[in-house]
Symmetry: C5
Subunit: 95 residues, 5 copies
């Protein structure tokens, strides 16, 4: 999994029917020291994450293993909202 910050949303009315009802989040990827890496992903929200929150997301077929994403053409899912995150004995992020 990777860490990211929810930074926006995508709205798409014309889509594959299996994507109906899913919330699409724009997630900026964070490096291990919480800096933004420049990368991003559009991920389905499985945990009710809000703009600005630091989250963890899974990619690939693993992104289809949540209740809301099963059997859907979804390759990225936000599956946790991060409380704290420690690296080398220091708290990099605290909610």
């Amino acid at each position: 999994m990777l860490l990211g910050r929810v930074t926006g949303t995508v709205v798409a009315s014309q889509k594959e029917p299996l994507m109906d009802g899913l919330k699409l989040l724009v997630v900026r990827q964070l490096g291990v020291d919480s800096n933004e890496t420049g990368g991003y992903v559009v991920a389905v929200d499985a945990v009710g994450a809000g703009i600005g929150e630091v989250v963890m997301y899974a990619s690939g077929s693993s992104a289809r293993q949540t209740q809301v994403t099963q059997n859907r053409p979804c390759d990225a899912v936000v599956m946790a909202i991060v409380d704290t995150w420690d690296v080398d004995g220091e708290t990099v992020y605290e909610k």
Copy 2:
């Protein structure tokens, strides 16, 4: 998923029979701020996307979860046409 702009098509008459009847789009990848990243993918069209449209596509095994791509040797599918896309409180793209 990633965002991209449909920029062309690929025609291939000699192909694996399971790919028959699928429309192949050349999609240029877009960064989070809608700039082109230089990357691209050839994706099967599952939503009737046209040249110039901003779309969302899924990759890997998730690309086989739409009705048109099931069980086909397809690793990328355009599964939504983007209406709007917001980042950091601003509308980056509006159809």
Copy 3:
């Protein structure tokens, strides 16, 4: 899927039995403007592609969805020979 040019072959007599009888192509990756990107992949040939031809290949589990690659330890397959390829209203490649 990505586009590439068939540029060579790999011969391997000592291999996992499930790979017997498959033709292994060295495919140089092409950018969207048909320039070589420096990347390559060794892909199983599912369409009878010849040296020099421009092809489309699928990666990952999708590479196991052709008749010749099913259930084999194959993560890349050439599944189409490209006739034409258009980008931004221009024909980038014509067979």
Copy 4:
């Protein structure tokens, strides 16, 4: 698989229920000569790895093939603690 050093942990109380009870490790990726590459991954711990240990992790759907990760939205798992690691006839790392 890739090699990495366990460098921290992630705590997330609000998450997909299928992730309950899993320990989340921040793993810095190591190059073949044991230098840090700058990359990282958050991986589920399947072997009781501690901070500072050098481990091996699997990614993608393979990360769901351990007892603790089966059918969970997990795309990276620490599945071995490395004892030694040799390259070009020299021991790069010894526990």
Copy 5:
């Protein structure tokens, strides 16, 4: 698949039980012209490859399609020892 040179081994006594009995090879990735790219992967040996040999390996779920890797948390497998490898009409490598 990609090409690489077997350059070392990894020993790990504390691991996921499903990995017991598998030989773990450090494989340096080779570019299309046989130069080392700097990348590497730890792959399970499915063909009895020795140090220094040029091999082909598969990644992702395809790495679980050999007899020795089935249903194991393995995302890379050496599944062929390369005899020869031609690019642009020249033999880049011969065993």
